[in-house]
Assembly symmetry: C2
Homo-oligomer: 326 residues x 2
């Protein structure tokens, strides 16, 4: 199908929400669907109105289905808000906006979970119904909850991120439930597939979107013991995040706003790093192979080009783990 995939090689992408989903979309346009597995953060998941909401999973699903609301940056295109207007009339909580169609995703998920389906089952079902080809897999089936210790106290993730617009200063982040969670059988099968050619950590917030997965012991162990190259695409361009609080959080955690800090954060997990042309001067100082390209994804073509560059780079790296960063 594509020159970059001459042998039916499998690829695994790890991502959070918006930024990561953009690269996942690019990957989905250059790989046959059966060759791509996208593993998504679930630390943002929460119950709202009794419904199980999986914000990052839904962002990935809607993005891959071509249904995402590009004006809002979240939710479904062409959404209506009749439900939310009535919630407001009834004095209910309106800080987390759920569109009438988006609601159906959470309702169907909640109903299936109540009937004994796993989150992986549910996500596969939703992806199929939305006409999505690649496998989209939640990082685990057991609940993991990102919790922020901030100057406003301990906050559930969505309270911090949406309710308080990521304004509180973060002191620490923890992932409740992560240490007893494990990758699903489907995720392990994708990781251990002998056809796996490489792993891509998408440009998502390392602390909020990737760390929840890395806090699951079965994930970290398997990624550290990988037999295929793993590359990360920078979430920082010129010391700033394209969107979201990555840079703000790094400052609050006392970290320099530098791609070297991202590489250091992923220590033991990376064989290569994709950095932006803006940061090209930093490349020689990084302790691992790098490639410099345009990482700002404004258009679909940007997403596709970054996906191509990332996979091409990954394929140049040693696959046996002998030259990894320590």
């Amino acid at each position: 199908m594509s020159a970059i995939d001459p042998n039916g090689e499998r690829w695994l992408a790890i991502c959070g929400g918006i930024g990561g989903a953009k690269l996942a979309l690019g990957l989905s346009r250059i790989l046959p669907p059966e060759n791509l597995t996208i593993v998504v953060n679930t630390g943002d998941d929460f119950r709202h109105f009794g419904l199980h909401v999986s914000p990052d999973v839904d962002t990935v699903l809607y993005t891959l289905a071509g249904l995402s609301n590009t004006e809002l940056g979240w939710g479904l295109a062409g959404e209506t808000w009749t439900f939310m207007e009535q919630v407001e009339r009834l004095g209910g909580p309106s800080w987390f906006r759920l569109g009438d169609r988006d609601l159906a995703t959470h309702a169907v998920r909640t109903a299936m979970l109540a009937n004994g389906s796993s989150l992986t089952d549910v996500t596969r079902h939703l992806a199929t119904r939305l006409g999505i080809g690649p496998s989209v897999i939640p990082m685990c089936d057991a609940p993991v909850a990102t919790v922020v210790d901030s100057d406003e106290g301990t906050l559930a993730f969505q309270t911090y991120f949406v309710g308080r617009r990521a304004e509180p200063r973060i002191r620490a982040i923890r992932f409740d439930g992560a240490t007893t969670a494990s990758p699903s059988p489907e995720a392990i099968a994708a990781l251990e597939d002998p056809r796996l050619a490489g792993i891509v950590i998408c440009p998502s917030n390392p602390w909020l979107s990737i760390d929840p997965l890395l806090a699951v012991p079965g994930w970290r162990m398997r990624l550290e013991q990988r037999r295929v190259p793993c590359v990360a695409v920078t979430p920082l361009i010129g010391g700033e995040a394209v969107k979201g609080p990555t840079a703000k959080i790094m400052g609050e955690l006392g970290l320099p706003l530098d791609v070297a800090e991202i590489v250091s954060h992923y220590r033991g997990l990376l064989d290569g790093f994709v950095l932006d042309a803006v940061d090209a001067a930093r490349a020689p100082a990084l302790p691992l192979p790098t490639v410099v390209t345009n990482t700002l994804m404004r258009t679909l073509d940007d997403r596709i080009e970054l996906a191509k560059a990332t996979l091409a780079f990954c394929r140049t790296l040693p696959a046996d783990g002998l030259e990894r960063t320590r």
Copy 2:
């Protein structure tokens, strides 16, 4: 305010969904709001998509608020169905229809319950938000579930009533949780209010809509020991129910389709019975005082006239319980 309420007397009405709600609306139009308490069946309550749905409570709320969908016979007027259409697209359960605005009621209820509010608190909140004057009180705060033993097996109530359109033949009906439930403090206060002048059992299905409340020991005991007259308004007109499966169920339970059977069913609870002009010939055979009037409520005026006739009749009955049916 009204000749029928010269002394600020309090009235308590007990009802299920549609038919009962019509009389409740009539009562609400002739009594000052603070003088009327409406106690509603919750045996129909269930979880759908993880949301707490209280069909009878909502029917009463929407009816009293003037928001009920008179075309459908349930739900909100002017409703939209964006959510349900997306649920169907996603392959979710569509047998129980939830409109976009109706959903907000269940969502706010579920959120408040999750935060520790009682069902009584939630119902008061919703009623206030919808501009409803009278007190609307669920029959209890603890969960009670009507379960039908039928020729298609044991069915949860909504599966029987909506999912299977009340078609299975009923063999028995039980109310899981009823024996350990109790009236809320608010309900007990209304029952024990020294200003209470009478109790009205609305024309709801005795087996499905009133029996759940009567299965709660604290309700049956207090109704049997009442010090004010209690009257029931017939749910049968000429041996038929206006709407719903009352007559069908009586047949399946081997009962004659006769108002005498309704009176017998409420044995020990009634001081008088309101029957329809169609059934006037039956009155002399009934073992308690009766009044004959038009009980078919097609218009708002019908509802108001039936409410007036019912309260006027009730006020003619002895209030000390000495002449009750045994």
